[in-house]
């Protein structure tokens, strides 16, 4: 076996690992039996080391759709199926993903292991709410198909458990009915943090909501942002009647994010944030847009991660409980504004209630930021961690490549239960990742 150099989306960390892929169940069973310290990896779109380890099992070739009940919107697929693939099959039949993160280039297995959330988390919760069953190769080599009801403990530590309970082989997903592939989109400008919070709360009835936030503002402009709201467009509300269930974006108007990477490179961050905010002239804009531009604006710039250069970048995503959100966010934004670490992307969202014991979301505001790696960044993020902890928040494991184990243990109240569970379900350490070792989970 030849070792390969591998890293995830942020290019950090970059490691050498053995990588096994598989086409058939018996192949992955054999790999599990003959090895220890293995971890499953999908499309490598997590922002850290959760799917990195000494031996990686790639699920990418295990990508068959096994059943599709077009009438009731149930789909059963192997863990390596990409959401982009799934969309191209289900959208023409009038179905959509019930929950989708900001990229469609992730696998079903990854979506469950990270228990991803989307713009509708405040209404619908995380991905696991729409998973009716999971089939898993467990560390003891048994294959088990389970649901939330049939094996609540395994379910609880699998959804959001970063792949540590076993290798997800397939899952059944309940889809969402749509009449068109278009979104009724509304965007509202907010001058500062108080205003954007108020707007989020006023618009909680919207199915989809999130905001772009300009992280370089200080003083009274802190929190300057644009709120993006959306609802699936029904048939009657569209001007066109043909071809309204198309996974490809055929509309003329696209969300303004399609510039090539060289533009992004040459922009200074503040100029970009300024332009982005002022591009929208009026306070409120209403449009009908294709879902692709609404949910996946960055997917159209295929390798946008490369704009951060060879050293890579880190993404920092935290959530702070509602009652402490505004205070915590203000403190963090102030700290960023004063630092030399500008962030190009800031995504703010009001989340709904906690989904299960190990998943990231809690009721409150979450902010995601990108930082190019340079000297002092790690220390700076440690400082931000302290602010997050002080306000009772936590960090998203799928975005994490660097948090200290103390931070994890202080913020995830189920950490000890997970550790105990893993030490009994996997006493031989069949499964572990760089992240699980760094955080001393397993």
């Amino acid at each position: 076996m030849v070792k390969k150099v591998v890293s995830n989306w942020t290019k950090f960390p970059e490691i050498e690992a053995d990588i096994n892929d598989f086409l058939y169940e018996e192949e992955v069973s054999k790999t599990l039996q003959n090895n220890v310290n293995i971890i499953a990896r999908g499309n490598g779109r997590c922002y850290g080391d959760a799917s990195l380890g000494a031996r990686i099992i790639s699920t990418l070739k295990y990508d068959n759709i096994l059943e599709f009940d077009k009438k009731n919107g149930l789909i059963h697929c192997q863990s390596g199926v990409l959401l982009s693939d799934l969309l191209s099959v289900i959208v023409p039949k009038g179905w959509f993903l019930p929950v989708t993160p900001g990229t469609k280039f992730i696998t079903i297995g990854g979506a469950i292991a990270s228990n991803v959330h989307g713009k509708n988390h405040h209404k619908d919760g995380a991905f696991s709410n729409f998973v009716s069953s999971i089939t898993m190769l467990k560390p003891n080599s048994e294959i088990e198909t389970f649901s939330k009801e049939s094996n609540p403990e395994l379910w609880d530590f699998t959804c959001g458990g970063m792949g540590l309970t076993g290798i997800i082989l397939s899952a059944q997903i309940r889809l969402k009915k749509i009449e068109s592939s278009y979104i009724k989109f509304r965007s509202i400008k907010a001058r500062n943090l108080d205003e954007i919070f108020k707007l989020f709360e006023e618009n909680e009835a919207y199915t989809y909501s999130m905001a772009w936030i300009d992280c370089l503002q200080t003083g009274k402009n802190i929190g300057r942002s644009i709120l993006m709201l959306g609802e699936h467009a029904n048939q009657q509300s569209l001007k066109r009647s043909k071809d309204i269930l198309n996974p490809k974006d055929k509309s003329l108007f696209k969300l303004p994010f399609n510039f090539p990477t060289w533009v992004l490179n040459s922009f200074s961050l503040s100029a970009f944030n300024f332009a982005y905010y002022h591009k929208q002239r009026s306070k409120v804009v209403n449009r009908t847009v294709h879902y692709d531009g609404f949910f996946y604006p960055l997917d159209s710039i295929l390798e946008w991660n490369k704009m951060y250069g060879r050293k890579g970048f880190l993404q920092y995503q935290f959530v702070i409980p509602l009652e402490k959100s505004i205070e915590g966010l203000r403190e963090i934004l102030e700290r960023i504004g004063k630092s030399k670490f500008g962030s190009f992307l800031g995504v703010l969202k009001l989340m709904g209630k906690e989904d299960n014991s190990i998943s990231f979301p809690i009721k409150g505001y979450t902010l995601a930021l990108d930082f190019p790696i340079k000297n002092g960044l790690f220390e700076f993020l440690d400082e931000l961690d302290e602010i997050v902890l002080k306000h009772g928040g936590r960090l998203y494991l799928s975005k994490d490549a660097r948090m200290k184990k103390e931070t994890f243990w202080a913020s995830y109240h189920s950490a000890e239960n997970l550790r105990k569970y893993l030490s009994s379900s996997d006493p031989k350490n069949k499964i572990s990742s760089l992240q699980s070792k760094r955080l001393k989970i397993h």
């Binding site: 076996m1 030849v2 086409l23 058939y24 990508d63 068959n64 096994l66 059943e67 599709f68 099959v89």
Partner: protein, 241 residues
């Protein structure tokens, strides 16, 4: 359009099935353990709304080949013979069983079923027969000459079959991949610029079939094999290839 894939659980077999399914061809997946192809069959039916059938086929069980072809539906347009066995050269020098497996799978098994398919397609008076040979058959190398000799035999056979079936309206295609990143080669450290993916080989097969080619190499193997062919044997024998 309907394509029969013999060796459907192989990486190239799967890639070809996916590509032809995306062109809306109906597919028969044949392999020694056809149950393994059920997920792929369902997947292709769901994604492309085509019909996929499964058949049991064992390349080295020659006696079964006659029956196998008898059971085929009469509307197959393309037959692809993609099963093979690379084996281990060192092992095959020590152990005749390994050498025999390489020779029977890659040569005798292929020829036995191709003979039957030649009769099937001659009767129809149209269609394509595609055989996956290898650049290893163009010149024997120290690292895999049992495999290479079997593929050399297969190449010669396909050339003859092409000549023989030309007047019957049947096109015979020889595909000669170089290095392909598959399960069969997973343990080898292949030079990346010279290694094709199964998907690239599937594209090569599709283009060769549509354009009624006789022999197809993936880039840049035709050139490489031309150069390798020019090396005098007195020098070639000293090379570590």
């Amino acid at each position: 359009m309907k394509i029969l894939i013999l060796g459907a659980t192989s990486d190239i077999g799967i890639a070809v099935a996916k590509l032809y399914a995306s062109k809306r061809a109906n597919i028969i997946l044949a392999s020694r353990n056809s149950r393994r192809s059920i997920p792929l069959a369902k997947n292709l039916e769901i994604r492309y709304e085509i019909a996929v059938d499964l058949m049991e086929f064992d390349g080295i069980n020659y006696q079964s080949h006659d029956d196998f072809v008898q059971q085929l539906p009469d509307d197959i347009d393309i037959a692809l013979c993609v099963f093979g066995y690379l084996g281990d050269q060192e092992e095959s020098m020590k152990n005749w069983k390994e050498a025999e497996k390489i020779l029977t799978t890659n040569y005798l098994g292929a020829i036995s079923i191709l003979d039957q398919l030649a009769i099937y397609f001659s009767g129809k008076g149209n269609g394509s027969i595609i055989g996956i040979s290898s650049v290893a058959g163009d010149r024997g190398r120290g690292s895999n000459y049992h495999y290479g000799s079997a593929k050399a035999g297969l190449t010669a056979y396909l050339s003859g079959l092409r000549n023989s079936l030309y007047t019957k309206g049947v096109n015979v295609i020889t595909i000669k991949p170089g290095f392909v990143a598959t399960k069969m080669t997973d343990h080898l450290d292949l030079p990346k610029p010279l290694t094709n993916t199964p998907e690239e080989i599937a594209q090569l097969i599709y283009k060769a079939q549509v354009n009624k080619k006789a022999v197809a190499y993936p880039f840049p193997w035709r050139l490489i094999m031309f150069i390798i062919g020019l090396i005098p044997e007195s020098i070639f024998k000293k090379l570590n290839l």
